[in-house]
């Protein structure tokens, strides 16, 4: 517990340093969105990124997508995805998600060997799904607030917290440890192109849907990030799991009772100690099932939009 506090404090310090830096960057902040005090700076950066994208990244990614055979693209995607599984596993463990951590680690182990250094993703068809956790999410899990929105040059949308976590993620990215510089750099470029290629269609759609692309991306990104930290998509899964365990316990209890020769299972409500114990997690489970109350302890408001009126 103590350790956790210490590390949290450390991060807070880092956070404050980062806030200071971005205040410098931001200069005069004209804003109406409380999550985006550096809007002026962010917009400038967004314009810059957009120009880079339009003139370099997007054309290259489009060519890559149209020219390279799709098995090659899948291979590239799998290869880098496999490397990220290792760091994701570490972050799962750091968030006490032992099962997901083991899962991601197994993915890495299986795909790195049987999957020919990760080029083939044989773990996914085997039911081992990716989790994609990073250091920013780990910090979020332990209660570090996301802080203001920040548009990073080239790297795109982020928050203060995630920017602070970036060096960690950089270190955790196995590819950055490749010693041969030309190899390393070409790999980084290839990965960027591949990632851009995989969202080409989505980005085209976005251009249609958004009145103001900057705002649209910002609000979408912040929501998505928050939901990833809270794992709202897994809340239901967890609820089901709790429910399943409960059912098992109940079954066992009634089995035992029968073996002991106790008269017929009693009506619900007085099924002995085990059922009473189980009642507490049941309540937690049903809460999670509604989707609005995630289990992670240190979380602020739910992701859902404002309550339905009338």
């Amino acid at each position: 517990m103590k350790q956790r506090n210490d590390s949290a404090r450390l991060h807070v310090r880092g956070l404050m340093a980062a806030v200071g830096v971005s205040l410098l960057l931001g200069g005069c902040a004209t804003t109406n969105n409380p999550r985006d005090p550096f809007e002026k700076f962010n917009r400038a950066m967004f314009t810059f990124n957009d120009a880079v994208d339009r003139n370099a990244l997007k054309p290259v990614a489009t060519a890559y997508k149209n020219v390279t055979p799709s098995f090659l693209q899948t291979g590239v995607n799998n290869f880098f995805g496999n490397l990220s599984d290792l760091w994701s596993a570490a972050n799962n463990f750091a968030q006490l998600k032992g099962r997901d951590g083991m899962n991601d680690f197994t993915r890495f182990a299986v795909n790195s060997t049987l999957g020919l250094a990760g080029v083939l993703d044989i773990a996914s068809p085997a039911g081992l799904n990716k989790h994609n956790e990073d250091l920013g999410q780990t910090l979020g899990y332990w209660g570090v607030p996301a802080g203001p929105y920040l548009m990073l040059p080239i790297l795109g949308p982020s928050t203060i917290r995630d920017t602070v976590a970036l060096p960690g993620d950089w270190w955790g990215d196995a590819w950055t440890h490749v010693n041969d510089i030309p190899w390393r750099n070409s790999g980084i470029v290839l990965r960027a192109v591949d990632q851009r290629a995989s969202v080409l269609e989505a980005s085209n759609l976005l251009e249609d849907a958004a009145l103001d692309r900057y705002e649209f991306i910002r609000d979408g990104y912040l929501q998505r990030r928050e939901s990833k930290v809270l794992d709202t998509d897994k809340a239901q899964e967890r609820a089901e799991k709790v429910q399943g365990k409960l059912d098992q316990v109940q079954e066992k209890v009634s089995e035992r009772l029968e073996k002991l020769g106790v008269k017929k299972p009693t009506p619900p409500g007085e099924e002995g100690d085990a059922a009473a114990d189980a009642a507490a997690p049941a309540a937690a489970g049903s809460e999670a099932a509604t989707g609005s109350a995630p289990n992670n302890p240190p979380t602020p408001a739910p992701v859902s939009s404002e309550p339905v009126q009338k």
């Binding site: 109406n32 969105n33 489009t62 997508k65 149209n66 693209q73 899948t74 995607n77 995805g81 799904n129 990716k130 994609n132 995989s198 080409l200 269609e201 085209n204 759609l205 249609d208 849907a209 958004a210 009145l211 103001d212 705002e215 649209f216 609000d219 979408g220 990104y221 929501q223 998505r224 990030r225 928050e226 939901s227 990833k228 709202t232 998509d233 239901q236 899964e237 609820a239 089901e240 099932a289 989707g291 992701v303 859902s304 939009s305 404002e306 339905v308 009126q309």
Partner: protein, 216 residues
Amino acid sequence: MKPIAQLIVTAATVAISTSLVAAPAVAAAETPDALVKRVSSDVIDSVKADKDIQAGNRQKIMDLVNSKILPYVDAQKMTQQAAGRFWRQATPDQQKQLTDEFRTLLVYTYSGALAQIKNETVEFKPFRADAAATDVEVKSQVNMTRGEPITLNYRLSKGAQGWKIYDINVLGAWLVQTYTSTFTSEINKGGIDGLIKKLHDRNQQLASKPLQAPAK
């Protein structure tokens, strides 16, 4: 060839005859998750069966959206929530215009998304809700041929015409919430009429622009 021709004729008839107001009577008795499942598999099957749609035939896609999706969407509620506190400041006429323009924009966006359906499959998560509930969330994910699955959740509320969708969550972001601040800043700049005009201009622009043909 004949059955296909027949199918097209039937589809066209359905498209013409289904007006927005008259949601099919089935909807009332259907559970919300069954409704979403039916609509989504219906739409996906239609797309996969139609080469024109895959090639980006805008008219056909729009017909599909209008006939198979819109009857189950509560566009007014969506608009109302996206407009937030400004909704009540708008005159009934402005409310109607705003709803119409926003709905059109959503149709264009959705059409663009539909044209890109290829081998993706939709997987629904187990649905649990109180039988008496009038506001629920149906959860699904789209499994892509490569990369992570995409979260796709729906919020539905029960009204006089049965269950209707009023919000969609893509990749963890709710559509209405994502539009909220855009609406707010546009209204702050040019009032409600300014927002209506902005939406209208965008729709005009999208109407004249060819649909992006899916890159193979």
